[in-house]
């Protein structure tokens, strides 16, 4: 049995940020990772937002972290089977440091961050799947490993073991069952493409990158698509709400294949070769699905705590994970100072999160998951927008109607005016 000052379960962005923070403060930290190396099991869409939480440690983060491209161009697409309507935002302001976001490869990025924690003094234990938490007198005092049943002990455990967090479950902090309407599955194809082809196709130079979110490409299943540029590959995929997907009878890979064959998408992907296929869950339920994040001898951070914000335009996760990891680390350091690892002693973690953007933003957007559970967004609205544009641009010899008439007709036919008003109201309330 080995003893540490703190055990971190999971060497993803939350876990490594926590380990780094504690190791820098002089604590003896065990950082556990079930993969062969950190990042081996990790997958996401592909855009990492600016990590303000790590800027104190890495003031020139963009020169140190293994990044693909920085995002200068963001676009939203309304898509139907044969048309797409794009809204682009392209700014020079995103072309200078501190950059606003990047594309990354998780097996590279997560490994780098964990190695930074190791450099600061943390002990990284790979191939270590946690089997259970060790509880004594109602307090978590360690974990056991699946490999050989061996036990690791520490007065504080940080559960950063991802979206399903069995560590939080075994410590009694999350409910035994997940609600399928709180979770989405992301599926992704990594597509090989030469850098100069990507630069030309997306209108980019140097390390500039583009991110594109797409709605209307899921055959009516609640969810959306994405297309991101890496240095010499593209990430293309779908995020599908589990309650809607399971009821639809459709499969994620058939939907992804159809998405990649949509004519405008096919042109962007032309000549590409499939490199890797991957899948992962997204805790899209946000604030209302959060587990207890503080227990006796235990804290929960990142996806394990369901710290995820989905607005339809942005999907935030890793930035919240690193911020919560840093704060969990700070709370553990404070607890060591006071020698109090009880729920009350660790509650400072919750207070720090309340004061940071993490819980403020999660609360601000707590209505958006509900707003996004509206099937009209995923088929009728994209059809309405594309139908409207088609009518505006089309020259067919017939006399024109006023723009207002065209607009009202499109809204009435595709969505219904009452629905439109209700959706505008709920969208306004949620965002």
């Amino acid at each position: 049995m080995k003893s540490f000052d703190a055990i971190v379960v999971g060497a993803g962005p939350a876990g490594s940020s926590a380990a780094l923070t504690m190791a820098r403060a002089g604590l003896e930290v065990a950082l556990l990772e079930r993969g062969d190396f950190p990042g081996e099991k990790n997958m996401f869409g592909g855009v990492l937002h600016r990590l303000t939480a790590l800027e104190e440690v890495f003031p020139d983060f963009w020169n140190q972290a293994p990044l693909e491209r920085h995002i200068v161009k963001k676009s939203l697409t309304f898509m139907t089977g044969e048309a797409s309507f794009n809204v682009n935002f392209d700014t020079e302001a995103s072309d200078r440091p501190p950059y606003n976001g990047y594309t990354i490869y998780r097996p590279c990025f997560d490994r780098w961050l964990a190695e930074e924690a190791v450099k600061a003094g943390a002990t990284l234990l790979t191939r270590s799947t946690v089997d259970d938490v060790v509880v004594e007198k109602g307090k978590v005092v360690g974990v056991t490993l699946l490999r050989d049943g061996s036990e690791l002990r520490a007065p504080v455990v940080i559960a950063a073991d991802g979206v399903l967090s069995f560590t939080a479950r075994k410590a009694g902090l999350r409910r035994p069952r997940f609600n399928p309407s709180h979770q989405a599955v992301g599926v992704k194809a990594m597509v090989d493409m030469p850098k100069d082809v990507i630069d030309d196709r997306f209108g980019l130079v140097r390390d500039q990158g583009a991110s594109n979110e797409i709605v209307g490409c899921t055959e009516g299943v609640r969810g959306g698509g994405f297309l991101y540029t890496n240095r010499d590959s593209l990430s293309v995929g779908l995020v599908l709400h589990l309650s809607s997907l399971s009821q639809s009878g459709k499969t994620p890979y058939d939907l992804l294949n159809a998405f990649m064959k949509q004519p405008q998408m096919a042109k962007m992907l032309r000549g590409g070769r499939l490199l890797e296929y991957s899948a992962h869950l997204v805790p899209e339920g946000g604030y209302d699905m959060m587990p207890e994040i503080v227990g006796d001898g235990i804290l929960v951070a990142g996806d394990a705590a369901a710290m995820c914000i989905v607005t339809g335009l942005n999907l935030e996760g890793i930035n919240l994970a690193t911020q919560s990891g840093v704060l969990a680390g700070k709370a553990a350091v404070e607890a060591h100072g006071k020698k109090d690892f009880s729920r009350a002693g660790l509650a400072v973690y919750r207070r720090m999160l309340e004061e940071s953007h993490v819980l403020k933003d999660l609360k601000l957007y707590r209505r958006t998951p509900g707003m996004l559970h509206n099937d009209r967004i995923y088929s009728q609205y994209p059809e309405m927008v594309c139908g409207l544009m088609d009518e505006i641009y089309r020259i067919d010899g017939a006399p024109k109607d006023t723009m207002t008439k065209v607009l009202l007709r499109a809204a009435r036919e595709k969505v219904g005016l009452k629905n439109l008003l209700a959706d505008v109201y709920s969208g306004w309330r949620a965002l």
Binding site: R34, G35, D36, G39, E40, K41, N42, M43, F44, Y105, R106, P107, C108, T126, R127, S128, T129, D131, L145, L146, R147, V163, L164, F166, R177, F178, P180, Q183, V185, V187, K188, A189, M190, V191, S233, L242, L245, S246, Q247, S248, G249, K250, T251, P252, Y253, L256, N257, M260, L269, G272, R273, L274, L275, E276, Y277, S278, A279, H280, L281
Partner: protein, 94 residues
């Protein structure tokens, strides 16, 4: 370009454990009228045979995403855990 889960080993790396990390009680699946796992699993690990009235689960190409764990309406798992350390899916660049 086409994703075919039956050819998942061509594009995604695995270090397959002999011991499955997910074990189903297929008697429970027989009584299930939803079987959301079959269509929802992104790696097509679940197959329902109407003829034999039998659910088959193969863990080899499992992406460890947890979709089945969340959508299963009957809690049919006698075991659902991550593979032992070092086993399972191994992403290179995702």
């Amino acid at each position: 370009m086409n994703i075919n889960p039956d050819e998942i080993f061509d594009t995604t790396s695995f270090n397959i454990d002999r011991e499955p990390h997910i074990v189903l009680d297929t008697e429970i699946c027989k009584k299930c009228d939803q079987r959301a796992c079959v269509n929802s699993c992104p790696a097509r690990c679940y197959t329902w045979s109407e003829e034999d009235a039998k659910m088959t689960f193969v863990h080899d190409g499992c992406l460890e995403c947890g979709t089945c764990y969340v959508v299963c309406a009957k809690d049919a798992f006698t075991r659902w855990r991550y593979p032992r350390g070092g086993f399972g899916v191994s992403y290179r660049m995702t």
